[in-house]
């Protein structure tokens, strides 16, 4: 019985361990042949410890996460507000549909040069692009969530003579809370990916830039350390959101 449990606990780690082992062997062989383009994972772990101890790791991670969070906040507030309007009014949804269909497919990375031109480098350009990228999924998901609200709830709000504000905060938002959380979870994933992408492509701050600069200064160990760390941070943030969503759903009685 305990052996089985041990096996189940170990099983997820076997495949990554094999991958890391193969990479270690390959990188050491490449280094022995005189290549300095790659580093073995053991060297990456040492570089990671160095970055963690001198504080550059936490500074860059904080920048990326903070900017992604602020951008998501901006994009989510705007997206939820417009999604509520378009979800509640069929006419507004039909009037806005063409504009949304035209604007939504613009890839967020296409705005990197524009944001660079408008804001220069720094927090604001990254914020703007993250907000743009998270605005659309939240708008679409909130709109469809509002459209699927039980019509009787809206009738009740009409009978009670609630104002538009009261209707939004007392009836609509509680009714879509669970779906809103799913949308926010997607928004978090998008925000993190877009923030790192902006840093890799242009913005000289944060985790993406740290990885890029490690590559450009021929420090493959540090570059791999950053790549692994970005993976860990992304996984942890997403896993945290899933956990939070489950807790909230249980609180609200959606899940047993």
């Amino acid at each position: 019985m305990t052996e089985r449990r041990l096996l189940r606990w170990l099983r997820p780690w076997v495949f990554p361990a094999l991958l890391v082992g193969a990479f270690e062997w390959y990188a050491r062989r490449a280094a022995a042949l005189g290549s300095d383009a790659l580093a073995p994972p053991s060297a990456a772990a040492r570089a990671f410890m160095g970055a963690a101890l001198d504080g550059s790791l936490w500074q860059a991670t904080g920048f990326t996460l903070g900017t992604a969070a602020l951008g998501l906040l901006l994009g989510a507030v705007l997206g939820i507000a417009l999604g509520l309007v378009l979800g509640l009014s069929r006419r507004a949804a039909q009037l806005g549909s063409l504009s949304i269909e035209v604007l939504r497919p613009v890839p967020s990375v296409a705005l990197i040069p524009l944001a660079m031109l408008t804001f220069g480098f720094g927090v604001r350009m990254e914020l703007a692009i993250v907000a743009f990228a998270t605005f659309w999924p939240l708008l679409v998901l909130v709109q469809s969530a509002v459209q699927q609200i039980e019509p009787r709830l809206l009738e009740v709000s009409r009978v009670l003579g609630l104002s538009a504000r009261e209707r939004a905060f007392k009836i609509v938002l509680p009714a879509i809370a669970a779906r809103l959380f799913v949308a926010l979870r997607l928004g978090v994933a998008v925000a993190l990916v877009v923030a790192v992408t902006v840093e890799i492509a242009a913005n000289p701050n944060g985790m993406g830039y740290a990885m890029m600069i490690a590559q450009q200064s021929f420090d493959p160990a540090l570059m791999l350390a950053w790549l692994g760390w970005i993976g860990v941070v992304g996984f942890a943030v997403n896993a945290g959101m899933v956990l939070l969503q489950r807790v909230v759903a249980r609180r609200m009685g959606v899940l047993p």
Binding site: R11, P16, V102, L103, V109, L117, A214, M223, L224
Partner: protein, 263 residues
Amino acid sequence: MNGNGRVGILVNRLGSLAVLFALIALWWMASNAGWVSRVFLPTPQATFASLLEGLNLRGPNSNGELLAFTQATVGRMLQGWLLASLFGVLLGAAIGVSPAVRAWVQPTLEFIRPLPASALLPLAISIFGLNPGMVLFVVAFGAMWPVLLATVHGFAAVEPRLAEVARCLQMSRAAFVWKMGLPNAMPDILAGMRLALTIALIVAVVGEMIASQSGLGQAILLAARAFRASDLFAGIVLLGLIGFASNALLAFAEKRLLRWQQP
């Protein structure tokens, strides 16, 4: 709505067109009246002129480059997407068809899933160097992920009774994949391929920006660095059109291919 159905639809279409034109008019006013500096926001007519010039639509002896850039970007996106779809489905089927393999490998896949595709660019640069093949590799690798995970999920969700039927009929594993697994996973795979196309476009643009491969990504970055705002907007418009067209085509294909699912 019921009484004047056709007229109502027409009015709605015209209304949404009017809203779009109103937004463009707002842009026109903001840029022409100087509310927003023209360094950032070119006038719509300047953007349109840049588009016409870049796409060689103005006359026979113009030398616009946007057409070639657009072809390069679209080509990169499509090649990467096709490779991603092929390998995603193959690997996904190989992993998804066996519960044992799934149990060993899936946690790793879930771990890699949130990793931004563009984060692989530095690694790919130091392995392959700055060349078109490197960008294509990252495009394909980044776009493969949603297809792969969707295929695994589609295979894992095969109705257990169908698997029992296959066992009763003594179907070979290949026959099971072809006759039950793939059709069952098709909706998931198509949804994954749609997401993959979006990712392919994004990674292609980022790759062109970083690795200076000719394409729209490099073109808009250079336009921004030289403060040629109208060229920059022309590039953004083209990228938006590529995104719009590819998404619309795939949505149409998805509807056609999944017609058997609808009652």
